[in-house]
């Protein structure tokens, strides 16, 4: 580490670094305010060490974070400020289509294990994407996953294990249609209830 000859410049540089996400004019204003403060404080209290003045000003990161919050009207404005969210940015149609289409995939290719696996993966991935999405409230996500994925899956498994097993394809049409209607209906409801 280089020993600094100018702690004030180092301090302001640290604030500038931490405030790099601020718009340039806000950042310059903040730096000017702080520089002014340091100058006035030192003139008024010449016996106080400059290090103490800087310490009273506080941690550059905390100041930068406060400036960020104030510049957008609080943490809620993070999204509006153009900061990309790290997750849940998938289009709301994606999980809904994955869940709904998993059933026709499973039914139409019921003889092919690869497609059964694909259908299973579609449904699970769809449910995970639905749960991590920013487009619905937690209650709606839970309801959606229960109605569109868990309930139909449980019904189909139950059907396969009991009545439907060994009877042939024809009787399975009705429960499959019911399950599909449930998934599609829930998806339509979720689509309409999404947050834009």
């Amino acid at each position: 580490m280089k020993i600094s000859a100018d702690p004030v410049r180092d301090y302001l540089a640290a604030v500038e670094r931490e405030a790099s996400v601020l718009p340039a004019d806000r950042r310059q204003e903040l730096l000017a305010d702080l520089a002014e403060h340091i100058e006035v404080a030192r003139a008024e209290r010449p016996d106080v060490a400059v290090g103490d003045v800087l310490m009273e000003l506080g941690d550059p990161r905390t100041i930068a974070q406060t400036a960020l919050a104030e510049s957008g009207g609080g943490a809620a404005a993070w999204g509006a400020a153009g900061e990309p969210a790290r997750r849940g940015k998938v289009h709301p149609l994606v999980p809904l289509l994955m869940i709904t289409l998993s059933l026709p995939v499973a039914v139409l290719f019921s003889d092919a294990p690869a497609f059964q696996l694909l259908a299973f993966l579609l449904r699970v991935t769809g449910a995970v994407l639905l749960c991590t999405s920013v487009h619905w409230t937690a209650v709606r996500k839970t309801t959606g996953v229960l109605l569109a994925a868990v309930l139909p899956s449980a019904a189909i498994v139950t059907w396969n294990l009991s009545a439907g097993a060994g009877v042939g394809d024809a009787p399975a049409v009705l429960p499959n249609l019911v399950a599909f209607a449930l998934m599609a209906g829930t998806s339509v409801w979720l689509w309409r209830a999404r947050r834009v």
């Binding site: 903040l30 305010d33 002014e36 006035v40 003139a43 000003l57 506080g58 400036a67």
Partner: protein, 127 residues
């Protein structure tokens, strides 16, 4: 792991401060314009409202942008010129509004904190 008691207290104080700090800053300018170091000194002296000084400047910047305060430069007999912050019409109105709602707010909180709350009335003892 649970944070220590002092951390919890600090967090509660910080949450409270966040809500009221700007009105206290406006109140400091009610009778006369003040410059930055002076405002910070007053907050510091108050004890409970003392905060990392640098975080007040972003707040002052917002008050200026929202047209609640204006600033003017004034020469000083000692050292550099000072930037004085003064209330605007809307700043004064915001302060008056806060002054009006604060006692009710404070009393309501006090009531919750001090009044014993009995169990649900229907489960009380028959007289």
């Amino acid at each position: 792991m649970e944070p220590g008691d002092s951390t919890k207290q600090a967090r509660a104080a910080a949450q409270l401060r966040k809500g009221v700090l700007e009105y206290c800053v406006l109140a400091l300018m009610r009778d006369r314009p003040r410059y930055g170091v002076e405002l910070l000194q007053a907050l510091e002296d108050s004890g409970a409202l003392a905060t990392s000084q640098g975080t007040v400047y972003p707040l002052l910047s917002r008050l200026r942008r929202d047209d609640l305060v204006t600033t003017t430069w004034q020469e000083s007999t000692s050292g550099p010129p000072r930037r004085y912050y003064a209330l605007t019409e809307s700043g004064r109105a915001a302060l008056e509004e806060f002054t009006r709602v604060w006692p009710g707010f404070r009393d309501a909180v006090d009531t919750f904190l001090t009044t014993p709350h009995p169990a649900h009335p229907s489960t009380g003892d028959p007289a």
